[in-house]
């Protein structure tokens, strides 16, 4: 059985939901405290949503210095799948594992509601089982979710098909409607919406299943 590590920083709060997201698909989940430094026992790592270290300074700015992040970088370098959801995405950009940054929403308020995502690339550990152009209803829940980066970075993300998910109706002012991206080797993914919150029709949407299932399978459809 595949085993996923869910990293808990002080201030993380979606750790139980992220764990449910993989156990629902038949994998194991284990919490990893932010001071741990050995991730070798895992088949994949999730950085869940929340407010790591209180988001003081700015989201993810302190979390990148947590001891576990060196191990996450090493795990990623070895090709291990790493998923950052919401605050986890912010942490991954601050840690330099993903390009760009997340800034405050255009309207300067917290936003919690459903969004419709459009799959822009299936070449990532999060989207391998989806189809290009597929529309997925997945909720957002963030204050600082507007994706931004410089022109050169954006052009290279687009050229390399590293933009994996876009918003149909941009809720937060993200550059190019970007909702999620991956790294060049496609094993590190980050997105602001919460796929783990969209895994049951009882709760409103099961459209996140294809994303979490891709990640759990970690079938990397590289080039």
């Amino acid at each position: 059985m595949k085993r996923f590590g869910v990293v808990i920083f002080p201030g993380s709060n979606c750790e139980y939901d992220a764990a449910l997201g993989v156990t629902q698909l038949g994998a194991e989940a284990e919490f990893v405290w932010h001071s741990d430094t050995d991730l070798s026992r895992f088949d994949g790592i999730i950085l869940p949503g929340g407010f790591a270290h209180g988001d003081y300074l700015r989201p993810g700015a302190l979390a990148r210095f947590s001891p576990v992040m060196k191990a996450v970088a090493h795990f990623a370098l070895e090709g291990g799948p790493v998923l950052g959801i919401c605050n986890g995405f912010q942490v991954l950009t601050e840690a330099g594992l993903l390009a760009g940054a997340l800034q405050k929403n255009r309207g300067l308020t917290f936003l919690s509601h459903d969004t419709t995502l459009i799959v822009a690339s299936t070449r990532s550990v999060l989207t391998s089982e989806a189809t290009i152009g597929q529309e997925l209803v997945v909720p957002i829940n963030h204050f600082s979710g507007a994706y931004t980066c410089d022109d050169a970075t954006y052009e290279s993300l687009v050229a390399n098909e590293q933009v994996i998910l876009r918003y149909r109706d941009n809720p937060n002012g993200s550059r190019g409607d970007v909702a999620g991206i991956c790294n060049e080797t496609r094993n590190v993914v980050g997105l602001m919406p919460h796929p783990e919150r969209a895994m049951s029709t009882l709760l409103g949407s099961a459209d996140g299943l294809v994303l979490m299932s891709s990640f759990v399978s970690a079938g990397i459809a590289v080039g």
Binding site: G54, F110, S112, N141, R197
Partner: protein, 756 residues
Amino acid sequence: MNSPVEPLHRALGLTDSELGDIRGVLARDPNALELALYGVMWSEHCSYKSSRIHLKRLPTKAEHVLVGPGENAGVIDAGDGIAVAIRIESHNHPSAIEPYQGAATGVGGILRDVFTMGARPLVVMDPLFFGELDDARQRWLVEGVVSGISGYGNSVGVPTVGGELTFDTCYASNPLVNVLCAGALPVERLVLGVASGVGNLAVLLGSTTGRDGIGGVSVLASAGFAGDDGAASLDDAKRPSVQVGDPYEEKRLIEACLELLDRGLVVGIQDLGGAGIVCATSETAARGGVGMDVDVSAIPLREPGMAPYEIMTSESQERMLAIITPENWSAVEALCAKWEVRASVIGRVVAPVVLEDGRSVGMLRVRDGFDGEVLAEVPASSLADEAPLYDRPRRRPEDLDDIRDDDPSLDEPVGSPNDDLLDLLIDPAWVYRQYDSQLFLNTVVGPGRDAALLRLAGPGLPASQRGFAISTDSNPRWCALDPRVGIALTIAESVANLACVGASAKAVVNCLNFGNPEHPEVMWQLSETVDGMSEACDALGLPVIGGNVSLYNESGGNDIDPTPVVGLLGIVDQLVAPPPGWAWRDGDTVVLVGEREAPGERTFPLGGSRWATLRGRRGGRISDFDPSRIVPVIDFVVGEVASVCAARASDVSAVHDVGGGGLAVALSEMAASTALGVLIEPSITHAELFSEFPGRFVMATSDFEAFEARAGSVRLTRLGTVGGGRLVIGALIDLSVEQIVTRRSGALEAALNALG
């Protein structure tokens, strides 16, 4: 500055007669520190001294009640080995002064009340009351309060799934910020805030203790205290007594406390809220019938130079008091270190003192050092339980009959019903879009609907297919006209809201927001409210399992309208499919379920309706409370909706309670949720359009004959067939669904963004 000759006890909010009582308890004069302890513990906020004799009349018992009023939270057995804890509180006065922190710390406090019982907090709801939005200060309050709830609740990781939003001029100077929290626990983890076991240690968990919030519950922050014990300069004493919250500390505290309880490392646990350490230590000791020594020098402080009275009464947030055995200290210390939660031994449980008359009394002793000088020594129960109780004078307002005779139900209709209806539409989405309503993956019906509905699941809970539902309700317009009947109707309305998500009501918590209890009219309102609540709860078979009283909501001598808020907890036995929402389907039959006419003097009462308030009419009669008419209707609706939740085949496509704004607003909200209109066939009068009384539902069915057969003796009125893009009600209402949607969704933001 107050007169320097004011005696200390008065500066602390104690009356001369209360000072006499304290002398009687101690058989000597209290010292300054002891007076300060009584000052906060005998405050209205902590002691309920004006309301307690009335609250005793509420029904509190039922077979499924595990913990009733008086503990940190009420608890019911929800089935499948799961208990649900629920509590509601007010944070009105702090929010009026500092809306962000006032609202934020309100959330923090209520969460601690719930996890103190061993329950993981699963939902928060916030009933909010402000003045009209045509005033810039109100908009500042709304934005501050909402961002405070959002900022704290989202960060700490507990979903906010609903609440209420009321605008009325009576709250212009006294906004009300109530907050409800419910959580769940495995039944066997239930713990109480009791100290026991002589020699056990009192451990303070969480934040350091600072000068924030001193005198939050009383009038400590005033002249007269400086000098006596070298405590504080006047400037220090004048610091804001609003606390400051840290949700990240609270999140770690929740996880640490739940793990301490899971591992059986604590004997008892108590949160620190109003009146801080003195309240937590005296209450736990009093409940356990033991004494407690508290070492003020062992309490980690946020700033130097704090006097013992400041340390003992500080309301610094994110702190808990755990009673543990000495053998477990190293395990507790290690667990807290893992969660980066500070833990300090600050006291110990001691044997009660046996008096000459044979009574044994647990003493709260404040010491400087564990075996150091005794700075204060008073019976713990005298602080916690023995404040004087007052039966304050009550008087029915003299002008009430005149107000009730000024009844808008008798008016000839004026103006345009179309315009009135549009003015009544308001979608609170601007508020709840700022709240995380989905954390823990339980939210089946979130904010903005009749009631919130969640799966009864969470980390560490046994598996269950049950769901739990919560609705918070109030109707100050009804209660101003008739507090006794008004609260009964409010509770019926709340039960009806739960029915819309298929839940049977199981328990009530209340937050009684009133004006100044020294005004006899206010005490009359409070007493009538308690009687009306008792009558309704008896009739509906509901126990009251907890509550909070917030008095002195007055400004410039003007009291707020009586604003009792109820939170109702309901259970759905099998929740495997979402209940029908408001979205009816093309071609469905729209049915009014329940009696069309109200019981009482007026067939379609408009007194206390939102329509009348819009028209500036605040008088009139409200409906009678007649449970024999309401209960069968509610039972039918619960059955119909619960059947959908259990994934059984059903022809029911939509259900909505007829609430604020009456039938016209209910139909508009349903039309807005699918962009499909309806042509209403029966003749509806202007009064029926906007009249408000509980026990009516609008439902939609794809098979009216089958629906009618199941309804039995419940009265149904066929209203029309879903279709087209207009809502048409006789000659009175003709609106396009787009107009309704645009107006409803934009109303709040338009008001908030208005210049002025």
